[in-house]
């Protein structure tokens, strides 16, 4: 690519888009709120209903959009770098669905009402099991095996989630499957933010620490080892980093797919194909994308909100097909 912007310039642009999307997310909603209301709410001493709306409904929603979008973009880029495969992302390989199963078990058995931390922890447990199964199955990185394993895990996770929800005596449980399998950050609260954020950020740290290794891994595992990479440690960081951040994110939002697939793919040429630089760029790109999708969800159907996962699947699924067709040649190797 000629005339690429420099890396710092790209990051600056992405930071700007993220910030814009964040502010827009706070300003858009079923009730009219302008920029003035936002400023007044932040600086005024008297709590009014507007302050409550912004502080307890809009703000947690925007923060979660930021945290979860970044997580999806980041883990997508990280998994693709680690597996040396552009089709990898937590949704496709079933990690998100397994996390949803863990979360559902925590909530519908009543565990998370008595122990709130059970929610993110069990979700993380679910995603960890999925990643470990994938590692065992996918072995030497055959694309086909990996995707098939992901499909299997996803299907099983989805089926078990439906089972748990159907068995619940609560009359609303079986309808809530739509939330878990399509994802949403509507009407979440700051409680959810505090519950998920520490885990999400810990996961980010682990993934950031393995960034350099991703560059060298693009030459293959043997070359990477010969250049001084500790492969076991890198694998551990990536596995745990992905499981922890995706697990906690899914615990509060349900499964949101395709963000981790689309964002790294679009941004890769802009970072000159460097896997390590792609991490930060994808995190910001993912945040921008998810926040924008969340705004769209409130604009398209203001009465009954469309689920977030529907919007991301809408552009993500065709994109996935396009990617498969493009890499069709390499399936034969």
């Amino acid at each position: 690519m000629k005339n690429l912007p420099s890396y710092p310039a790209l990051i600056a642009v992405l930071l700007t888009t993220t910030l814009l999307a964040f502010v827009t997310s706070i300003l858009i909603g079923p009730t009219e709120l302008g920029f003035r209301d936002l400023v007044t709410a932040i600086f005024s001493e008297n709590p009014s209903m507007t302050t409550t709306i912004i502080g307890e409904i809009r703000l947690p929603r925007a923060i979660l959009g930021l945290l979860i979008g970044s997580t999806l973009g980041l883990t997508g880029a990280s998994l693709q770098g680690y597996l040396r495969n552009p089709l990898a992302e937590p949704g496709v390989i079933g990690v998100s669905t397994a996390a949803a199963l863990g979360a559902v078990l925590a909530i519908y058995t009543g565990l998370s009402s008595s122990v709130p931390l059970a929610l993110p922890v069990m979700a993380i447990g679910g995603s960890l099991i999925a990643v470990l199964i994938l590692r065992a199955l996918a072995g030497s990185g055959s694309i086909l095996t990996l995707i098939l394993a992901g499909v299997a895990i996803s299907s099983l996770g989805g089926a078990l989630t439906s089972l748990v929800l159907n068995l619940s005596p609560n009359p609303f449980a079986s309808l809530e499957i739509i939330f878990w399998l399509l994802g949403s950050i509507t009407d979440r609260s700051m409680n959810h933010v505090w519950l998920a954020a520490p885990f999400i950020i810990s996961g980010w740290v682990l993934l950031a620490l393995s960034a350099r290794a991703l560059d060298v891994l693009s030459l293959g595992e043997e070359t990477a080892i010969s250049l001084g990479i500790n492969l076991e440690r890198t694998q551990l960081f990536i596995i745990f980093g992905t499981a922890i951040s995706v697990g906690a994110a899914t615990a509060v939002s349900g499964v949101i797919g395709f963000v981790g697939l689309v964002v790294p793919h679009i941004l890769r040429p802009w970072v000159n194909y460097s896997p390590s630089r792609l991490l930060l760029a994808s995190a910001l790109g993912g945040a921008t994308l998810l926040l924008s999708a969340d705004v769209l969800v409130r604009l398209i159907t203001p009465g009954t909100e469309l689920k977030l996962g529907v919007v991301t699947a809408f552009f993500g699924a065709p994109f996935f097909l396009h990617l498969i067709l493009k890499t069709k040649a390499t399936f034969n190797t």
Binding site: R212, G220, T223, S226, L227, G228, R268, P269, Y273, P275
Partner: protein, 256 residues
């Protein structure tokens, strides 16, 4: 600087792939590791490079056990070029070569001037400077092979281990790569190359190590190794020996 393997054994799939091999690499020489398929050549190379798990025995670098060195120190001493030379991402050639400087670089810092210079040198040795800005996936077989070799050279390690660097190449590029390796050896690097092509081996190598069924059965100058007896016994072939002026050559001819 010395690189030594002492009594190395490698077990895999219930077989002994390498059976008690001891070998020493000298600096400044181009050594060929030859033998039939399944003899264990690639495995021995990987063991010396430190990427082979399940190996017993000792690898000594300057008399010290290789495990006791830090990963970076070991990486700076032994450069490895595996058979699989493919990358998923459309990295520019220069960026790929720069990856060879990984053991020398600081975390999260831009490449130093020394690194840039090393990359320049490596690229010019393999004659790849003119297409160094192009992405690797757009290069031809020969061009990309040279770029991967440059990556290994950029490490500027005292030892270079290359696994079939001339595989899948046309004669022009095969000869080109062998000439590059010869020059690298001349400049003081200890180069160990796994090779199938006996003609090239005879022509370019200073020394040959002949492997069969996990053991080194013979070692010495090409003339001494590529005897009819060895060829029949190890490869089950016979070869034609010829001379044109003062250029001697050997061509595997028929099965025995």
């Amino acid at each position: 600087m010395s690189l030594k393997a002492k009594n190395v054994c490698v077990f895999a799939h219930k077989r002994k792939i390498i059976d008690g091999v001891s070998v020493e690499l000298e600096r400044g020489s181009l050594i060929g590791l030859i033998g039939p398929n399944g003899a264990g050549k690639s495995t021995l190379l990987k063991t010396l490079a430190g990427v082979q798990s399940r190996a017993t025995g000792e690898i000594l670098i300057n008399g010290k056990l290789a495990e006791q060195l830090s990963a970076e120190a070991r990486a700076r001493t032994v450069a490895y070029l595996p058979q699989n030379r493919r990358t998923e991402w459309q990295l520019p050639a220069r960026t790929l070569v720069m990856l060879g400087r990984f053991p020398h670089r600081q975390v999260f810092k831009a490449p130093s001037a020394a690194c840039e210079a090393a990359v320049d040198r490596a690229l010019s040795v393999v004659n790849a400077t003119e297409f160094s800005k192009r992405s690797v996936t757009t290069l031809s077989q020969g061009e990309s092979a040279r770029v991967f070799l440059a990556r290994a050279l950029a490490v500027e390690a005292p030892f270079l281990l290359a696994d079939e660097p001339t595989a899948d190449m046309d004669p022009y590029h095969q000869i080109h790569v062998m000439e590059i390796l010869k020059n690298v050896a001349k400049s003081g690097v200890g180069v160990l190359v796994v090779l199938h092509d006996l003609t090239l081996a005879a022509r370019f190598m200073d020394k040959l190590l002949l492997m069969k069924q996990g053991q080194i059965v013979d070692s010495g100058a090409p003339k001494e190794i590529l005897t009819a007896g060895n060829l029949e016994h190890v490869y089950r072939i016979s070869a034609l020996n010829g001379k044109e002026g003062d250029r001697a050559y050997i061509i595997p001819w028929s099965r025995v």
